[in-house]
Symmetry: C2
Subunit: 78 residues, 2 copies
């Protein structure tokens, strides 16, 4: 709900677009945030784009292989 | 990796499109599956559309309120 409130605050501040980004297991929460914002609070807000991708993370230890993490970027617009 | 293998099998069977759907916390796994399929195994496969939404679930008990769950549907095409 903190992220929901943050989105609403930015829109109420006059923004026309808000980007919601997440990585890894937080991706499902980003989708929850977007759905709650547009269904419960701001019905005039539409999903403009949804992009998914992969980010390569530097290895934690010397010599380890880099790991990949999935990302999502959702753009909301009113 | 079972879902990755399933996607690859469908494409190898001649399909032009594959839909990957998930709900709730499995959404991040669906994104992982799509990213692994297109980055590691089938580079000619593109993400055609990504749709997010909400599904209302019937209450588990009599008289309880229905719950909402986020959904994602990713369409891959080659």
């Amino acid at each position: 709900m903190n992220y929901v409130l943050a989105c609403i605050t930015v829109f109420h501040g006059g923004a026309k677009e808000v980007n919601v980004k997440a990585r890894g297991r937080a991706i499902s929460r980003a989708v929850d945030v977007v759905e709650i914002v547009r269904r419960r609070f701001l019905p005039d807000v539409k999903i403009k784009t949804v992009d998914i991708g992969t980010q390569q993370l530097a290895p934690r230890e010397e010599g380890a292989t880099p790991s990949n993490v999935s990302t999502i970027e959702i753009t909301l617009a009113r």
